[in-house]
Amino acid sequence: MSSPADLTVQAPSSDDSFDGLRLRNVTKSFGSFTAVNDLDLDVPRGAFFALLGPSGCGKTTTLRMVAGLETPTQGSITLAGQDITYAKPYRRPVNTVFQSYALFPHLDIHENVAFGLKRRKVKDVDDQVRQMLDLVELDSQARKKPAQLSGGQQQRVALARALINQPEVLLLDEPLGALDLKLRRAMQIELKRIQTEVGLTFIHVTHDQEEAMTMADTVAVMNAGVIEQMGAPEELYENPRTTFVANFLGQSNLIVGQIKNRSSDFVTVDMHGIDVSVPAARAHVEGDKAWIGIRPEKVLIGDPGEELDAPGNSIPGGVVTDVSFNGVSTQYLVRMPWGQELQVFQQNTGHRRLYRSGESVELSWRPDYAFLLDHSQDARAGQEDDD
């Protein structure tokens, strides 16, 4: 099941010199429910890694197994070459920023941040705590209790409390989930800045695809206990391998097609009577039937017969059924001759006119932007309304 992950750039290699975090065949079951299923994962040292998926996909369970708060049913976890699968949480060089922050309510901010260092009997705790509170800009709040701080400040205390221990891996369990949008954006930038500054490995669990893509160098998309695809955000977005990834990261138009011909460069597909071609590198299909995928912003819209700037796939016979103008772009829904409604985003550059509902149009896209997915998958998997 983990084959999509195996194909990516950071394909797991078997050498022992890997000094990052490595999960091998990790399975976690709770009774008859399998939360994480035979998971393989390599996180290189110093990476900002995001585990992205809808709630209940197993991403938090994975994180808790790395933290030692859950024990895998099967498989192994190694960190810098050392097996930590069964190590107690207080013996691992791993710290967590909890979703609820879990700040100690009976201790003040200074004592909260000092907690980990004191347990390890480190010297000059006070100086380090002051520096860390400085880094998260909370030095003036040191003697307050957590309940006296705002959500964003508590979040930074939780971060400082984990970071001060200089863990090999810092785990962030949806740490920004409780913050409002504006604060979340600010904290995303802040987190990224701190990660670059301290150079530690961050593993960030989130269900917010935008957050994952903004912050992480590598994103692993998880669904139903399995990693669907892993790679750089651009790669995941531009060349998804499953319908789940295509729908969960942004939006996609998925159209049924019959494969007619496979050459070394292009796959030609019959899409309701129209031949469209897709680069072979972007075709992830086994059988004869396929989903042709195209991102809404890659689709061009024009008058019937108009010469559009997209050599290749041109599809006539569309009728605009819905227009929503939102300033930067216009979103169209276009009903195609075969009855499906396709989404089209057009930038408001001013060069092109706006279409109204009911107008006949022609759609077009460059073959390089299309992708081909296996038809056995559910075309609605990962869409936002099924969360």
Partner: protein, 301 residues
């Protein structure tokens, strides 16, 4: 020891004058039944107790008492009865300690480990209240009887000598008090421990605290409100208890409660009995104030 349990400072609710006044009146109205009850059954008897403690000791129930503000009753009572007084505090303190140890383990188990048996276990803690306090203490008399199973077993393993017994010893009295007041310890402890967010304990373990250290740094301080109220609820009634000493002890285990009862009902020495009651009360209030100040949980009172 880090002190207070995290309680956010109370922010005064800004209310408009109109609704504020109405709310105030409603509050007083709701207080009426309680105030009447306390006036009838606490303030008036308390006043008469204070008064009786200052009566002339030469009077009697038959000839009547004279109010002479005889403060000498207090030193006299202490000189005469300091031994049961000290013994009461000592027995109550020991019982409270045993209750705390037993009760903490039990409350912790119910709160964190009982799972779906939680409610059943709580009912079992309260279940003894369905039987009278006296009956339960009398059953302890049977359990600890000279030919009973417990004594025989202890004699068999030579912890007790051949002539050794449990009844009429401090062991029996303290065991009885511990048993009788255990629920008063378990319930507030349970309420406190049950409220502790399990994620805090996970966080402490994530931050290099082994389970032992994590308990003392997180679980224990967060359960302190329960510890304080539990020990108060146990110590205060235990110090004034006389049933256990009477049924399970001998005159050598006489506690101050027995003395007061005896002075009131048999000796008819009202001034001495009242003075002793007052002394016990003042002692307990003083100890409680010092204790609560030390534990740093003033919010409780």
């Amino acid at each position: 020891m880090a002190s207070t349990a995290g309680v956010a400072p109370a922010t005064p609710a800004p209310a408009s004058d109109e609704s504020g006044r109405r709310r105030g009146l409603t509050g007083y109205f709701l207080l009426v039944p309680g105030v009447v009850w306390l006036a009838l059954f606490f303030v008036i008897p308390f006043y008469s107790l204070v008064a009786a403690s200052l009566f002339d000791p030469s009077g009697s129930v038959v000839s009547g008492y004279e109010m002479t503000f005889h403060f000498q009753n207090y030193p006299d009572a202490i000189r005469e009865y300091w031994e049961p007084l000290v013994r009461s505090l000592w027995y109550a303190g020991l019982s409270t300690l045993f209750c705390l140890i037993l009760g903490y383990v039990l409350a912790y188990a119910i709160a964190f480990k009982a799972g779906r048996w939680k409610n059943l276990m709580l009912v079992l803690v309260i279940a003894p209240f369905f039987t009278s306090f006296l009956i339960r203490t009398l059953s302890w008399k049977l359990i600890l009887a000279d030919d009973g199973f417990v004594v025989n077993a202890l004699q068999a393993v030579h912890i007790l000598g051949a002539e050794g017994r449990l009844l009429a010893t401090p062991v029996a009295v303290i065991a009885g008090i511990t048993y009788n007041f255990l629920p008063f310890m378990v319930l507030p402890l349970f309420a406190s421990i049950d409220k502790i967010d399990h994620r805090l304990i996970e966080a402490s373990s994530d931050l290099y605290a082994n389970p032992f250290v994590g308990f003392w740094k997180v679980t224990w301080p967060l359960s302190l409100p329960g510890v304080v109220s539990g020990t108060l609820l146990t110590f205060i009634p235990a110090a004034g208890d006389y049933i256990n000493a009477q049924l399970l002890g001998s005159p050598n285990q006489r506690m101050v409660g027995n003395v007061i009862q005896n002075l009131f009902t048999n000796a008819n020495d009202y001034p001495a009995a009242s003075a002793l009651s007052m002394i016990l009360m003042i002692l307990i209030i003083g100890m409680v104030l010092v204790y609560v100040r030390r534990a740093g949980t003033e919010e409780l009172l």
